[in-house]
């Protein structure tokens, strides 16, 4: 801990700087600022710098960064901790949020009291709240502190869904809220049981104390069940497609790329850091089966969608399914982060975040240029917004698992892990899922590249608005060049868990 404490305050700043931005947005008249976007972009710049500094320090010191808040050591107090995994997650979040902010700026650049000011103010405030929540999810070491992070996330994410104010988006937001709150209640119930059993909520302390008994297993089952609803794991995914499809494009991008990953990250922590070893094989099989069902069912449903954004949203549910295959692919008794199953799962999480954000951003501009997002009538999009269609295609590579892309490496590692562990059905599901993804991406590209039969009316979109989506898609492709083996970065600080 000695070396790490010098950069420890950065962990606090990663959580509170977006909050400062959010508070500043409410008192802009006193600060002499007129546009919410000005404040938000300044916070984004600082936030990216903080995430980079944390990443650089992790790589340099090869040790986890720890910060004890207020000097009150756990279990009484709270501690924040960044290991290699959280560092990578924070970098991913910072990258996606920065691209989304650049993309959203022209759309939400008005002053608060100008026409459209409501949407601008709400979007930037909620984006700030959401970023703080994500960083806390990645850094929190206390189960109740993580509950607070989930609450922050829910109340920032849900209103983003209905920024348009249409009746159907408000309905989608309400359904999302109900699922998320039931998930929170289950999570909190499990937390209370664990405290009753062990008298601590600190993950590090629980790691040593938790024993395999009914109470522990029931508590973790309740918590994972609640988190599954928030992560939209099949069959608890019903809320996701209308919510993610109804939000404005930049909001859809953060919701699909980042928000559903946060509950999954906490499931990982519970499974590998709290649950006493060895994790139940039956439970791992249930999670993997649900993941497989998500991949097969929702890919087929995605293929049948008429609207581009709904198709992308169903694809999110399918891609989330891959993450849950991980639990069955990691042999017990080995440090998980040294396995290719774990590495594949993490790469899937990151490459999906980059690719899916790119897809939603590109789809937003395609819809803006054509005035609709009906897949059947996409002809002409390739000519009007070529960069966006190209970005959509590149991101599609990652979803299909074709080289070169992060999705290719991720799915190859998962496939190898499945074959090595003899889980043939998992290998088949991964392959079929890739084919289905290829089908739904190709269906869109084929239409978008076609010349329109009759002259269509399009709206010009400034070329520079297309860059953020392309940038994210290129990052997803670049992930395809990481070596096919467990990554050192992801292992930093993992072994040191007390």
């Amino acid at each position: 801990m000695g070396m790490a404490t010098t950069t420890g305050p950065l962990l606090v700043l990663a959580v509170v700087v977006p909050v400062i931005g959010m508070l500043a947005l409410l008192v802009m008249p006193f600060l002499g600022i007129r546009r919410p976007a000005t404040v938000a972009l300044a916070v984004v710049a600082v936030g990216v710098a903080i995430a980079s500094a944390i990443g650089i320090d992790l790589v340099r010191s090869k040790e986890a960064i720890v910060y004890v808040v207020g000097g009150w050591a756990p279990p009484l107090g709270l501690q924040l901790r960044a290991d290699g995994l959280s560092g990578v997650m924070m970098a991913m979040a910072a990258l996606v949020i920065a691209a989304v902010a650049l993309y959203a700026r022209p759309q939400f650049d008005m002053a608060e009291d100008a026409p459209g000011g409501r949407r601008a103010f709400a979007f930037w405030s909620l984006l700030m709240g959401l970023w703080s929540a994500l960083n806390l999810v990645f850094l929190g070491e206390d189960l109740f502190n993580l509950f607070v992070a989930l609450e922050l996330l829910t109340f920032a994410a849900v209103p983003l869904v209905c920024l348009d104010g249409k009746a159907e988006t408000i309905e989608a937001a309400l359904r999302y809220l109900v699922f998320a709150l039931i998930g929170s209640a289950l999570y909190l119930l499990g937390t209370a049981i664990l405290y009753g059993q062990y008298g601590t909520l600190d993950i590090g302390t629980l790691h040593g104390r938790a024993s395999a008994n009914l109470a522990t297993h029931a508590a973790i089952a309740l918590m994972i069940g609640g988190l599954m609803a928030k992560a939209a794991l099949f069959p608890l995914h019903l809320w996701l497609p209308p919510a993610h499809a109804g939000a404005p494009a930049p909001a859809s991008a953060v919701l699909s790329a980042l928000v559903v990953k946060a509950p999954f990250f906490i499931i990982l922590r519970l499974w590998f850091d709290v649950l006493p070893e060895p994790p139940s094989e039956a439970a791992a099989r249930v999670l993997a089966l649900l993941g497989a069902a998500a991949i097969l069912v929702c890919s087929v449903v995605a293929l049948r969608q008429r609207r581009l954004k709904l198709m992308i949203a169903y694809s999110t549910v399918a891609q989330i399914g891959y993450l849950f295959l991980m639990f069955i692919l990691i042999e017990p008794g080995v440090a998980p982060w040294t396995t290719i199953g774990w590495t594949g799962g993490m790469l899937q999480l990151i490459s999906h975040a980059l690719a899916k954000a790119a897809m939603f951003l590109a789809a937003g501009l395609i819809a803006e240029a054509l005035g609709h997002d009906r897949i059947a009538d996409l002809a002409g999009a390739g000519r009007t917004v070529p960069v966006s269609v190209f970005a959509f295609g590149l991101a599609g590579l990652s979803l299909m698992g074709l080289p070169p892309s992060g999705g290719f490496i991720a799915k190859l590692l998962l496939l190898n892990a499945a074959i090595l562990s003899g889980a043939w059905w998992v290998a088949i599901v991964i392959s079929v899922g890739g084919l289905l993804a290829a089908a739904y991406v190709a269906r869109v590209l084929k239409r978008a590249m076609a010349a329109p039969a009759t002259a269509i009316e399009t709206r010009a979109v400034a070329r520079e608005r297309e860059w953020p989506a392309l940038g994210l898609a290129l990052c997803a492709v670049a992930l395809g060049f990481v070596p096919l083996q467990p990554l050192d970065m992801l292992a930093i600080g993992r072994g040191a868990l007390p």
């Binding site: 008192v27 808040v69 207020g70 000097g71 026409p115 909620l126 709240g129 609450e151 119930l189």
Partner: protein, 309 residues
């Protein structure tokens, strides 16, 4: 001995009534009846917390009940007579709930004895913090980060509600809840001074005895709502800069004191020696104002078109 018997029978009556009211609420056909049952359940639950010695929790339970009651009653007025779910679905849900409740019961009955707890550790530093109430120490010292971020959650919820307005009205005042009547008018003139004094008391004793900012803020919000329902005060415009400043004040003061901790004594959200109590009181006062305002604004809802007079 007799007192023990007396208490045991009192607890038994409380438990049986709690179960009966819960059952009534679940089985009620009409939304309104279910809500009224639920409100009664909340009040009884507060009593149960008192019996368990958790007075802070009891006060919070009562405060939350008081705030949600008007919301639930209002919503139940809109709830149509929806067709009940199909019998197999209801059966499946009942089985699931029974399974969870049964497992919980087994776990609680088999809970370790004595329960492992941080209570002793939480009490030990109270002297150094100059506080008498361990709950306040948990909320504003040991786990101050949780409390700070929970107020941000409330703020996000408020922004979420504001974002539901129409574009042209979102900075205007919410629809007035005024429904003046002579009894309401009398209440609105008599109760607020008393309510404010009680709220100040709850806030002030919070450092050493059960009570604190949230309970005080709820009471103040309720008084504000009463004034508006009696038509004595109109709801404020949501774009008003001073209103926004008051909303932000609590979390901002908390965060500023937390950040100052980096410099002195050298840790985020730590208080310098001897300064813990005064700083905690400043934070609690600022939070009370902001939370009361946020709760009131949440009840009032998003900005609305002015009624054409």
């Amino acid at each position: 001995m007799r007192a023990g018997m007396m208490n045991a029978s009192l607890d038994a009556v409380l438990v049986v009534t709690l179960l009966a009211v819960a059952l009534f609420s679940v089985l009620a056909r009409q939304a309104r009846a279910a809500v009224i049952g639920f409100i009664a359940f909340g009040l009884l639950l507060a009593l149960a917390w008192v019996r368990l010695g958790a007075v802070d929790v009891a006060l919070t339970e009562a405060a939350i009940g008081a705030l949600t009651a008007p919301l639930l009653l209002g919503a139940s007025a809109f709830a149509g007579t929806e067709k009940p779910a199909s019998p197999p679905l209801r059966l499946a849900l009942a089985a699931l709930c029974a399974l969870i409740a049964g497992t919980l019961a087994v776990i609680v009955l088999a809970a370790p004895e004595p329960a492992p707890s941080l209570a002793m550790q939480a009490v030990a530093p109270l002297g150094a913090l100059d506080l008498g109430n361990a709950v306040t120490a948990v909320l504003l010292a040991y786990r101050a980060l949780d409390t700070l971020l929970e107020t941000v959650v409330v703020l996000l919820a408020l922004i979420g509600i504001w974002s539901l307005a129409h574009d042209e009205n979102w900075r205007d005042a919410p629809a007035s809840p005024a429904a003046p009547s002579p009894p309401l008018d009398l209440l609105a003139r008599v109760l607020p001074p008393v309510g404010l004094v009680v709220a100040m008391h709850l806030l002030w004793v919070g450092a050493d005895a059960p009570g604190g900012k949230f309970q005080a803020a709820t009471l103040i919000a309720a008084m504000g709502l009463l004034l508006m329902m009696a038509g004595l005060t109109p709801p404020p415009a949501l774009g008003d800069a001073r209103l926004r400043a008051l909303v932000v004040a609590g979390p901002a003061v908390f965060l500023a004191i937390g950040l100052a901790g980096f410099l002195f004594p050298g840790s985020f959200l730590a208080y310098p020696d001897g300064w813990a109590k005064p700083l905690i009181i400043v934070i609690e006062m600022a939070l009370t104002v902001s939370i009361a305002l946020m709760l009131l604004l949440m009840l009032l809802g998003p900005g609305a078109r002015k009624p054409s007079a």
